[in-house]
Amino acid sequence: MNLSLSLFPLGWQHYLLGGLLVGAGTALLFVLTGRIGGMSTLFSSTWSFVVRRPFFQQARFVDSRNWRLVYALGLILGGLVWWLGFAGGVREATNVPAWQLLVGGIFVGYGARLGNGCTSGHGICGLGSLQWPSLMAVLTFMATAFLTANLAARWLS
């Protein structure tokens, strides 16, 4: 009880249930369509609509760009259903400054694509298929994220 409160001060049920649903979405996508549902590839595959360079015209981006957009639309829809149906109509907001979101986002996008995966690609799909390179990637980004977040908390606030 006390341990649970100190590890999860806001409760633990919604985390676990949410995680199971995230897994259910990824599993459903695979069972029905055979697709591996990591999110970061979306950003490279969507650029393939407008950027003619050979990198973005690779088959793995061009062939998957349509379903990845549909999948992303589904994510927005899921967020909308939660917001309208379960969140009491209170709009989500963040106090993280815009510049931090933008600069952090650039690193996130560049790094996820260079490393071929993000928290969902390596963290859920990669770990879900028991691939040790993904485990190494997860441990790596957890470590640098931990360091960055704690240094930022010290220097930026």
């Binding site: 259910a24 979405g25 695979f30 999110m39 379903w67 999948y71 992303a72 909308l80 931090q100 931990f146």
Partner: protein, 152 residues
């Protein structure tokens, strides 16, 4: 039945799967950068439950479905995205972590959070899209024999 004749059911399945994913991210409050940062400050270990819960569901699905079904219920084949461990993966993951630690946003929650009306996340989305563009352009400029990830 051919894949093309199932285009609409497959698109609907993809939409519903994405919606489950986005709903789960929202319910678990991963769409709040503050909650992710709180994990990285070791104040709240909820993120471990989210990732652990998701992996616990995905492992049996990825393992069993190809064995039991042979092919996906709506056609095509079961894909595999083999991850590799090399310098690009190491550097990429490290940079991803720096960005994630700075803003508390990763690609899935950035998209799902839009559905919950968090327009500030558009800053993060713009950054992620820009980062992905820069990575592609830089990869294009790199000679082929220096590339670690083969073009699939």
């Amino acid at each position: 039945m051919s894949v093309t004749s199932k285009t609409l059911p497959r698109a609907l399945a993809t939409l519903v799967a994405g919606a489950l994913f986005g709903f789960g991210l929202s319910l678990s409050t991963m769409i709040r950068p503050e909650v992710v940062l709180s994990f990285l400050h070791l104040n709240d270990f909820g993120l471990m439950l989210v990732m652990g819960g998701a992996v616990a569901v995905v492992v049996p699905a990825y393992k069993l479905a190809p064995r039991l079904l042979g092919r996906p219920l709506l056609g095509d084949v079961f894909r595999r995205h083999a991850s590799v461990w090399n310098r690009d993966t190491l550097v990429g993951a490290a940079l991803f972590g720096v960005g994630w630690g700075l803003c508390g946003v990763c690609p899935g929650p950035a998209i799902a959070g839009l559905g919950a009306g968090n327009w500030s996340l558009l800053w993060a989305l713009a950054g992620i899209a820009l980062g992905a563009l820069l990575q592609g352009l830089r990869s294009d400029a790199r000679p082929y024999n220096q590339r670690l990830t083969p073009d699939l």
